[in-house]
């Protein structure tokens, strides 16, 4: 900062500026409920998580300061790296099909004439259904002897699979459920984006003789880029925090070979089963860093390209 030059100027101007700011105190008061609630339920837990990450605490006895001890253990913990790998794999296995399916459905809904609202509601219902109830439902669908999936396989003459007992089966079952739950939500967002694209562009394309595929890739997709960016980032934040699906479907240990152990499940296990709260706080911080990192990557991929043009 160019301190010496600006300080006198600042002292001259602050007095009236401050007065102007405080004269709006009624407006600040009107806004304050949000900030007070955020401070109590958002900021305070965040700050205490950061403090806790440098301590050891079993939940009841005295806390002990351990410096970077929790983080040092974290980078050497094979379960953490496995959880990280599982989370990223699950994220890719669920987000890519979710967004592709959602986009297809949105384009189809855009052109459908009858019962559009019925479809919209139907696609959105999974998103508001109780996650635990659905996880129980999906674990019966994928169960070995009496599950629907295996019944379908048997009728096609394919041998039945032990879905929730095999490492890859667990991942398929979990990502299927995530896809099922989030397709409708993203469809609606894409649909809103589609409706904002000017009709004239489509008409012009038609006049120029472009087919449906060409129109989709040359007009729809580029115009939807900001919406796609939004959905990708929302999916990143959600996908990296996958917890309920594996916890209900394969249990707290993450199932066979811990292949359903996500980072948040690992965090839950450290905090509430092992009562190792300091370590859990360190894991929570790592999730935060992970989400930031992935969001930044997505931002670059999906926005950067648009600006280069």
């Amino acid at each position: 900062m160019t301190a010496t030059a600006t300080v006198p100027a600042a002292t001259v101007t602050t007095a009236p500026a401050r007065k102007r700011i405080w004269s709006y105190w009624r407006f600040y008061l009107a806004l304050s409920p949000f900030y007070v609630l955020f401070a109590v339920f958002g900021l305070y837990p965040m700050l205490s998580t950061i403090v806790l990450a440098f301590q050891r605490w079993d939940g009841m006895s005295a806390r002990r300061f351990t410096g970077l001890g929790n983080f040092a253990f974290l980078v050497k913990d094979p379960t953490f790296w496995q959880a990280l790998e599982n989370t990223v794999v699950l994220f890719l296995m669920s987000t890519v099909p979710t967004l592709v399916l959602a986009l297809l459905l949105a384009v189809m809904l855009q052109s459908a004439v009858r019962f559009t609202n019925v479809y919209r509601i139907a696609y959105f219902i999974p998103n508001v259904t109780s996650l635990v109830a659905m996880a129980i439902f999906f674990s019966s669908i994928f169960s070995t002897n009496f599950g629907l999936v295996n019944a379908a396989l048997r009728s096609l003459g394919i041998p039945q699979q032990d879905w929730l007992g095999q490492p890859w089966g667990i991942k398929i079952a979990i990502s299927t459920m995530i896809v099922w739950q989030w397709v409708g939500y993203n469809t609606l967002i894409y649909l809103a984006g589609l409706q904002a694209i000017p009709r004239e562009q489509y008409e012009a394309a038609k006049v120029d003789g472009a087919g449906a595929v060409r129109t989709f890739f040359s007009i729809t997709l580029p115009q939807l880029r900001p919406v796609v960016l939004f959905t990708v980032i929302m999916s990143t934040i959600g996908g990296l925090q996958t917890f309920t699906e594996p916890q209900v479907m394969v249990g707290n240990s993450g199932g066979t070979g811990q292949s359903g152990m996500t980072v948040v499940l690992f965090f839950y296990r450290a905090a509430f089963l092992d009562n190792d709260y300091g370590y859990a706080a360190a894991i929570a911080l790592s999730i935060f860093v992970l989400v930031l990192l992935f969001t930044a990557i997505n931002w670059r991929i999906f926005r950067g390209r648009g600006e280069d043009r």
């Binding site: 900021l43 403090v51 009841m60 005295a62 032990d162 993450g254 070979g257």
Partner: protein, 433 residues
């Protein structure tokens, strides 16, 4: 009247500094909490926490009526009971006078013994002999404090389908089963025989679950009394190998209990047997429709083990620990435990209750067999094993890795060494040598 700006700002500043201060000194106040003398509860009522279904309804109603002064205020706490209790302890207010403690949590709460009243100081010596010795030991600290009086226990037995055993050429009468299926080897041999005649009926429901049972039959677990990791030793390896043997003999159904496959399999005969605690009877009864009356009970092969079973404890915050102890002593008397068994199948921790008419009743679900004839001797014969506060955390890798053997993705030896190294890492993290 207008709110003055100055008071408003003052208020905000106070809130803000309170928040900031709270987050930064949170650690130090936590330290003070543990050592400081507990704040006493008000003497006007006796607050009492337990989880849904933890106590018999008629016993509870009777106890509340029996102690009118101070009045017992009972709260049923659902969800993660231990977590809510710990949170309340940390909060420092509304801590109950009397609280239930679950059997799976007791080991991790023993290091917190200073938060609970040592029941010996309020006269527990006179009644401790009425309870199963091994169960009292679970709630006893290494220096001899008793923090909980046992509510119930979970002795195991072999539940089996009489009709399927008979059709498979196995003994089907409980006495004959008890005589012939004494060890795990006997049990596995019977499984191989049954499989030859009825390939759809694997005698072991889930070998990974069986592993826990075998560990529970021993007198040592993963961590020794002097805080050393012993999970890599012979007693654990033996349990591991027993489970793996069931897999290699192909008599493992790979059907974890409680799932939809297990529920359906009980009726259809693809789960012809289950080894589980006394309370599993309720699960089986509610899962089956057709096979009622075809089930029988026999002693667990290889000896009894315990699964579950809880305690009642008095916190240091109790206004009148003596009065609180009178309440739990009354509630957990042999007569009341027998009543609780009729109420909700809460299996008594007092051997005297096993001779009461409530428990001597025949059970039509088990073809008129008297369940206590199997569970009673099992409860008395359960081995005492020291359970460290970190036992469950350390056990987790063994379960996970055993499942990789079960699905064929790892060999037994590879999975074993991976389980041991993961378990050792967890133990070291918790300060075990």
């Amino acid at each position: 009247m207008e709110l003055s700006r100055r008071t408003l700002l003052g208020g905000f500043a106070a809130v803000a500094s309170g928040l900031a201060g709270g987050s930064l000194v949170g650690c130090s106040s936590g330290m003070n909490n543990a050592g400081a003398p507990a704040k006493k509860n008000a003497a006007t009522e006796l607050s009492f926490w337990c989880w849904p279904g933890g106590l018999g309804k008629s016993v509870l109603d009777d106890t509340i009526a029996h102690f009118p002064d101070p009045k017992i205020k009972y709260s049923e706490i659902g969800g993660d009971f231990k977590q809510k209790l710990i949170t309340t302890f940390n909060g420092g207010t509304s801590i109950p006078d009397i609280t239930g403690l679950k059997g799976e949590d007791i080991a991790s709460l023993l290091p917190q013994a200073e938060r609970f009243v040592d029941l010996k100081t309020v006269g527990a010596d006179s009644v401790l002999g009425d309870y199963l010795d091994w169960k009292v030991k679970q709630a006893t600290t290494l220096d001899g404090k008793v923090i909980g009086l046992p509510i119930d226990v979970g002795p195991t037995a072999l539940f089996y389908r009489e009709d399927i055993f008979a059709a498979g050429g196995l003994p089907s009468d409980p006495a004959k089963v008890a005589e012939q299926l004494k060890t795990w080897d006997d049990f596995f041999a019977a499984g191989v025989e049954l499989k030859a005649k009825n390939p759809k009926a694997p005698i072991v429901g889930d070998a990974a679950g069986l592993y826990d049972m075998v560990v529970g039959q021993g007198t040592e677990r993963y961590i020794s009394k002097d805080n050393k990791f012993i999970g890599d030793q012979d007693h654990i390896r033996k349990a591991w190998d027993t489970a793996v043997k069931a897999m290699t003999l192909k008599i493992d159904g790979r059907t974890p209990s409680g799932g939809p496959d297990w529920n359906a399999g009980l009726d259809q005969g693809t789960v012809p047997a289950h080894i589980g605690a006394a309370w599993v009877a309720l699960d089986i009864k509610s899962a089956v429709k057709k096979s009622a009356g075809k089930w029988r009970l026999a002693p667990t092969p290889g000896g009894p083990a315990n699964f579950g079973g809880s305690f009642l404890a008095i916190t240091k915050n109790a206004a009148d620990p003596q009065k609180a102890f009178d309440v739990i002593k009354y509630m957990l008397s042999a007569d009341n435990e027998a009543k609780a068994f009729t109420d909700a199948q809460i299996f008594p921790s007092t051997p005297a209750a096993y001779d009461k008419p409530e428990l001597k009743a025949k059970d039509a679900f088990f073809g008129g067999q008297v369940p206590i004839d199997i569970f009673g001797p099992a409860a008395k014969g359960i081995p005492v094993a020291y359970q460290s506060p970190f036992d469950d955390s350390v056990a987790a890798p063994f379960h996970d890795e055993l499942k990789t053997v079960q699905t064929g993705s790892k060999t037994s030896d590879a999975a074993w060494s991976s389980a041991v190294s993961k378990a050792k890492a967890i133990a070291t993290r918790q300060g075990v040598q």
